[in-house]
Symmetry: C2
Subunit: 333 residues, 2 copies
Amino acid sequence: MNAPFEQPAAAGKIMLVGIGPGSVDHMTQRARDAIAEADVVIGYVTYIKLVADLIEGKEIIRKSMTEELDRAVSALEAARAGKKVALISSGDAGVYGMAGPTYEVLFQSGWTPEDPVQVEIIPGASALNSCAALVGAPLTHDFCAISLSDLLTPWPTIARRLDAVAMADFVVALYNPKSGRRTRQIVEAQRLFLRHRRPDTPVAIVKSAYRRRENIVFTTLDCMADADIGMLSTVLIGNSNTFVRDGLMVTPRGYSNKYDMQEGGATREGERAGRSLSTGLLGWLDTLRAEHDAGAGIEALAAQYRLPADYIRATLDEPWEAETGTAADGSEA
Amino acid sequence: MNAPFEQPAAAGKIMLVGIGPGSVDHMTQRARDAIAEADVVIGYVTYIKLVADLIEGKEIIRKSMTEELDRAVSALEAARAGKKVALISSGDAGVYGMAGPTYEVLFQSGWTPEDPVQVEIIPGASALNSCAALVGAPLTHDFCAISLSDLLTPWPTIARRLDAVAMADFVVALYNPKSGRRTRQIVEAQRLFLRHRRPDTPVAIVKSAYRRRENIVFTTLDCMADADIGMLSTVLIGNSNTFVRDGLMVTPRGYSNKYDMQEGGATREGERAGRSLSTGLLGWLDTLRAEHDAGAGIEALAAQYRLPADYIRATLDEPWEAETGTAADGSEA
């Protein structure tokens, strides 16, 4: 039979594409392919410009900055109509990007993973990765990302996070540090950090990483709030070991805790390559028990190690387990 | 004159290449190009296998896991001999990767950025980006990365960080959560988290993201330590708003603080699109002042907002500055 009949619409797809810092060079192959196979490309106007070379002939939907939920709704409408949609985010689509709002809109609409509309998230290098690569190696130890935008987050939540990570000596990347209207958040962040960190803690301010107007400034915590910071800046605050040398910001991994770097890397007394430090978990528990047995009280130990007293008590109460594993521990990084 | 004379050796280069999760699809163009232009490729054996298709005919130096400093020394030697060296890391070269140890070795050797040996860091999607992309959208709000390896970091430092971010309600990615020898760290991490977070807090364990043996397990905080976790696992712990629905882990950005998602996204009373929340910094300062004027003491306010008393006092003492900016605030993400 050749009589015409209505075909069911082909299933559409939403691809959440992290385009990396902005230069096409630093986009993944899968991100390029996703844009190539898309019928529709949706994104903030600036991001659309960054991928201009890749989107000729496609339907383009440009949105302003505050229209994240609209972008997700437009993507779902186009996908319901059978189209393949690339919803683009700078950096990584999951890090303060469109992945979250899109799933929120999809769930709200009754979508499930069994729906004909499929969803794919394509990871990319986030601002913290690209900014770090440009300034040296600041993220070689534990780090965190905090957005200073209070457009959707109450300030006490943000302040509590700043205080906690300043105290616990993380390397910190501040996203959305400042805008035309939001100028005091960075001052408050500085105030909270200075309660715990030295005034000369290294800070790098990276604007438009890997883009035409790329600009990098090194400063210190006590001068941070006076620096030129804008909507396109990421602020990287070092930990207590981070240093700047010859224009490079580096956070040591901790090799000097185990090896004598001056002595050609000889292992320090009491330490073994490929094994936990003598101050690692099991060694520390031994010390803790010995100190407790010698008369140190729980509160005194808590104060000494700056850890909660009930944690000290609970871990001392845990039955002793000898080191049993046999597999190689692996990387020291 | 055609008499032979000794040419100065051509300048070598060290390229620190983040290859992304492991699938060549998720590598950036610049990472591929760097490997293509390299004379020598240095890396941990497993990472060398991941890029096997790209390195035919090149000099390959395979190192074991614990030889990070050796890898950096080998790279410098080859570069000093005029070679272009790709030193590869999985994920991002800056995130617990080779960028840090390499700069430590370079500085130790007297290298400066004016040296003929040039250094380039090529960012990639880190484990947290790729694991997040596979499980949904867990990193849509503030997050941090903590390595549980105590091979170079004293346990009290790690424990203090776990305690701080559990309290401050971050989404947390645990790197190096467990190995053959290190089995108790994840138990201690769970203990510290359960002091602050609900037992049913969502946890995702991602093994070998985008590789052949990729495996994803969803569990909850109270069962986390009993899950199958190994050297190639990343553990993602949600914040207090993170939920799992239909096999997807999502952290809301906070749109429901401003918009009524049930009512087609109408703006809630007292809130404005594109502006800070009424509980944002300036709104909160107004409230704080009013509460203080009405008789609430500094200590009471500190307890109410779970912030340090001296911070509350300092910010109340700061002279009032009216909202002055005129530029658009921009993104709510």
